[in-house]
């Protein structure tokens, strides 16, 4: 079986603990309005790899990983290629290299997906929007799969960092964020809720790809505002 990789970032220091080798898989079921990587959407595009080829490439970075580092599978939506990723994960285990999954949760909880989630060092779970209506409006799919995945992560006690993209005019208020927090209060698996400020650095990709950018008139989130909202979220969750 072959998997499809959009690109690599050998120093993905902020996507998880320790030094991380970032593998961005090709293909995504969502079409988030604020996506800064629309070039990763297409399923089956990009470079193809056998699991063993990919692991060989990842292992070149072993000396940087230490105890907490490893590889981070991102995308796109990495769990769209769960079967293939299970092969990769198996080989990584033999190499003693851990992995983190950076997912939207927007996939069915298949056996392969469960196996991958259970075997990860940690999960970065993007909570794109807080309710069915807004989720569907801004991503093109429903929220139920993401919430089901969060419940599963809670049930197996897997350390999960929640990430929320804050977009001016859409969810940049305490009231708006409160609607996310209802899903998160009392979840022991959630180690942290991290707000990511919307930025415009992906705009040129929309132009290059000829895709409509629905947020072309929106400015980047003011970092000071993000800090205030982050403080609010932390206080609400006693983090």
């Amino acid at each position: 079986m072959k998997g499809y990789v959009h690109s690599f970032e050998s120093l993905a220091a902020v996507d998880g603990d320790g030094l991380r080798y970032g593998v961005f898989l090709a293909g995504c079921p969502l079409r988030c309005v604020y996506c800064h990587n629309p070039d990763t959407w297409t399923v089956g595009a990009g470079q193809s790899f056998e699991a063993s080829e990919l692991v060989k490439k990842i292992a070149r970075y072993r000396s940087y990983f230490g105890e907490r580092g490893g590889v981070t599978f991102s995308g796109g939506e990495p769990l769209l290629q769960a079967e293939w990723l299970c092969e990769v994960a198996e080989l990584l285990r033999n190499e003693g290299i851990g992995y983190v999954l950076d997912t939207s949760g927007g996939v069915p909880l298949t056996e392969a997906v469960r196996t991958l989630l259970a075997g990860a060092q940690g999960i970065l779970l993007d909570l794109k929007f807080p309710d069915e209506e807004s989720y569907r409006r801004y991503t093109g799919r429903g929220i139920s799969e993401t919430l089901a995945m969060l419940d599963y992560l809670e049930s197996i006690g897997k350390e999960t960092r929640i990430r929320i993209v804050v977009v001016p005019g859409i969810n940049d208020s305490e009231d708006a964020l409160e609607r996310y927090l209802v899903h998160l209060r009392g979840k022991n698996c959630v180690s942290e809720v991290e707000l990511l400020g919307f930025h415009t650095m992906g705009f040129h990709k929309y132009e290059a790809l000829g895709i409509e950018n629905r947020l072309s008139g929106t400015a980047a989130l003011d970092p000071a505002k993000k800090d205030r909202l982050q403080a609010f979220v932390n206080a609400q969750l006693n983090k």
Partner: protein, 742 residues
């Protein structure tokens, strides 16, 4: 002897053996930085005076004053002070701080031009003296062949120390503190008598003359110290004297010599022994210990040489390379980190970030974790330090080597180096394609060969064969050119004091260099994996290329091109070794360009990798900017593959990353930088300059230098004050790859 009270005895009591003294007496420190102290009022007061002087120097175009009446030497000037009565460690190069001396021994014309560049004329005394004196430069040009001159003019052999002093020699200044000058003088006299028993060959006669020249300057050094009220004929008796005695040795050396790099060696753990002894009997406390190191470092920051504008093009930012090597591991497995290694790093907080001294951490994956973390923090906060792989160098150089200049290791007092600048190998490729002609001027430099055809794609095997022929020819010319240079340097600008602080017959290294490394690797890769078609001008010279298709680029951890890069270094080194070097020197090779990658690029035509005529090269062994598609670690992995065994003079890599890409907060960034360093060096990589900053900060500083007056950045084996760079160098630094958050 009372000066040695409390020290454990060993071989160092029987002969000059500083390493033995250190290993028997030093105290490894595995703790953290919490013991460190800030400045005293006195330090602040002297530092304030230095800051005023630096501002004045900057206002005057970079040179505060020049003494044009006297030729610099050990006893030329009356004692000078920053603030008389407040200085702890005494001694300046001339009688006033930042006043530069004229030192024409390496090249008279250069000295004249350097003075003129700042509005001065050389005085009558010096003019008369040098009317009848042969300088190094004159000697070299008497012997140079036409071919050497042509290669030099075309810029294929370039930056050669034939008109300026070679530098890169590290005196073992610790010997003065440990033994006192009387003992060292007696030992050298005994050496001379012993050598005098041999047959009088050229080598023996040269050695005898060397000894006598050294002895003369050793005696002068004692007089110089006496003028400051110090008796260095005896060993140092306490920590203050150890610092002072050692510094007098260094000071004498930089009064006598204006070589390109004047490094101070590996002194921290040596000095730590004296500091620990004084702390133990309470004649010193931590505040006093830090004050001593602060004051020494302040002196190091004031060392200046007079340079021409052309020299500054090669070595931008007025560097002296007072390279100060810290840490490392002992061969017996103990760490050589001491509290004084921390104290040197602490000067970057107490006195602010600075390019000098060039603090070099000898990194081992086995260094104590708290020390690693402190180094990373200092890098993130100041961008002022560099790292070199002790685990790799210790195998060849033991545990008492130091770095000269940027990346050149040598055993302190046991080895010296003949510095050899570099050969522009990207240009050698173009020469091979043009049948031995220079691609810019059309001059026939190398023997005439087949010129590759225009309009017909290059065939890799044919190009490689031609390149090998011309690189081999160039290697021989390069060694022979260096032999001429160093013969004349020994004869007319010999480093008497520095060499007196070496063993009488040290091992000699001849350090060759490569520039255009990544351009050549990518060019060969383009010819091999893409389609490269030459374009000729009306004179039949290949002046450009059409490169079609994708090809692997150095800096992406892709073996297809990284193996070409490895091969380049190995092949050229082997070819260099085929021609014997002057005075039995061992050949070594570096991949280091200082800041001359800009100048070398200007002198090189378009290359098959798509680089346009005149565009800068990447510095050192760095991948070309903008060609790494897989981020920072992939780029590091490519460089790590270049083998140190054939590049024992160092493989320089400069790494710039934005704070946001390195980690989420300060604590996270420290941990991650330590992981980067451990991971890189675990692969036997040699050197890393680390900058953690935003490109925008540099752009702001370029537009308004007053915003960040002490903004220091690592460039290529050393650090510079960003404001001292010329605009085109600032632009080149800004254009370099900054690893950013995606």
């Amino acid at each position: 002897m009372s000066c040695w009270r409390g020290f454990k005895e060993g071989n160092w009591n029987r002969e000059i053996d500083v390493r033995d003294f250190i290993l028997r007496n030093y105290t490894p420190y595995e703790g953290d930085a919490s013991f460190l102290r800030g400045t005293t009022k006195r330090t602040d007061s002297v530092k304030a005076r230095v800051d005023e002087l630096l501002i004045e120097e900057n206002k005057k175009g970079g040179v505060l004053d020049i003494d044009t009446e006297r030729v610099s030497s050990i006893l030329t000037y009356q004692p000078g002070y920053i603030k008389k009565g407040e200085d702890i460690i005494l001694g300046l190069q001339t009688d006033e701080p930042l006043k530069r001396a004229v030192n024409p021994f390496a090249g008279y014309r250069n000295a004249v031009q350097a003075c003129r560049a700042y509005g001065y004329e050389i005085g009558e005394n010096i003019k008369n003296e040098f009317r009848y004196r042969t300088t190094h430069n004159t000697g070299v040009f008497r012997a140079y062949t036409d071919t050497m001159k042509k290669a030099r003019h075309a810029g294929v052999l370039t930056g050669l120390p034939d008109a300026y002093a070679r530098g890169r020699i590290i005196g073992d200044y610790r010997r003065i503190a440990l033994y006192g000058m009387n003992y060292l003088i007696r030992e050298r006299e005994a050496d001379k008598r012993r050598i005098g028993e041999r047959e009088m060959s050229n080598e023996t006669i040269q050695l005898l003359e060397d000894c006598e020249r050294q002895l003369e300057f050793m005696r002068q050094l004692v007089t110089m110290a006496a003028e400051y009220g110090c008796d260095i004929s005896r060993p140092a008796d306490n920590a203050y004297e150890a610092v002072q005695w050692l510094y007098f040795g260094y000071l004498g050396a930089v009064k006598e010599q204006n070589g390109a790099a004047n490094s101070i060696g590996r002194i921290s753990s040596f000095l730590d022994i004296y500091i620990e002894r004084d702390l133990a009997d309470e004649s010193l406390d931590e505040i006093g210990a830090q004050e001593l190191i602060d004051d020494l470092v302040l002196k190091m920051r004031l060392v200046r040489h007079l340079r021409t504008p052309e020299y500054n093009d090669l070595f931008a930012g007025d560097p002296v390379w007072v390279t100060c090597s810290l840490a490392g591991m002992a061969e017996d497995g103990r760490t050589m980190v001491t509290k004084t290694c921390y104290r040197f790093l602490q000067t970057l907080y107490n006195l602010g970030p600075s390019a000098e001294p060039n603090i070099t951490v000898l990194w081992s994956t086995r260094l104590p974790e708290p020390f690693k973390a402190f180094c990373a923090k200092v890098s993130i906060d100041t961008d002022s330090i560099q790292y070199e792989n002790d685990d790799v160098m210790r195998k060849d150089f033991g545990d008492d080597y130091a770095i000269a200049c940027c990346v050149s290791a040598m055993k302190v007092g046991k080895q010296m180096q003949f510095f050899g600048a570099r050969c522009n190998l990207a240009k050698v490729l173009l020469m091979a394609l043009n049948g031995g002609r220079d691609e810019l001027y059309g001059e026939q430099i190398a023997p005439e060969g087949k010129s590759f055809e225009a309009g017909k794609p290059l065939v890799y095997e044919e190009v490689l064969e031609a390149f090998k022929v011309y690189a081999a020819w160039m290697a021989r010319l390069y060694v022979n050119t260096m032999n001429v240079i160093h013969f004349m340097h020994d004869r007319y600008a010999y480093e008497r004091l520095m060499m007196s602080l070496h063993d009488v017959e040290p091992e000699r290294l001849m350090a060759f260099g490569i520039s255009g490394f990544s351009v050549l690797a990518d060019s060969l890769s383009a010819i091999k994996y893409a389609k490269v078609t030459p374009i000729k001008d009306e004179n039949g010279l290949i002046v450009d290329f059409v490169t079609e298709g994708e090809f692997p680029k150095y800096g992406n951890d892709d073996d297809r091109v990284d193996e070409i890069a490895q091969w380049i270094a190995e092949y050229f080194y082997e070819e260099l070794c085929k021609t014997p070097a002057y005075r039995g020197a061992k050949h070594t090779l570096s991949i280091l360009t200082i800041t001359s990658n800009v100048v070398y690029g200007k002198k090189t035509g378009a290359t098959p990798d798509g680089r346009k005529k005149g565009e800068p090269f990447a510095p050192g062994a760095n991948p070309m900017h903008g060609r790494d598609a897989e981020g920072a670690l992939a780029s590091l992995n490519s460089v790590a593959k270049v083998c140190y065994d054939c590049c024992q003079d160092g493989i320089s890599n400069t790494f710039s990353i934005t704070p946001a890409a390195l980690g989420r907060d300060d604590a996270d960034r420290v941990k991650k930088l330590v992981s980067v360093l451990d991971g890189y060096f675990a692969q036997n990589a040699h050197h890393l300059n680390v900058n953690v900053l935003n490109r925008q900060k540099l752009i702001d500083a370029m537009n308004d230098p007053t915003l960040y007056p002490s903004l220091t950045i690592r460039v290529s084996g050393y650090a510079v004050n960003f404001n001292k760079l010329t605009k085109d160098k600032q632009l080149e630094v800004i254009a370099r790859t900054f690893h950013e958050k995606v």
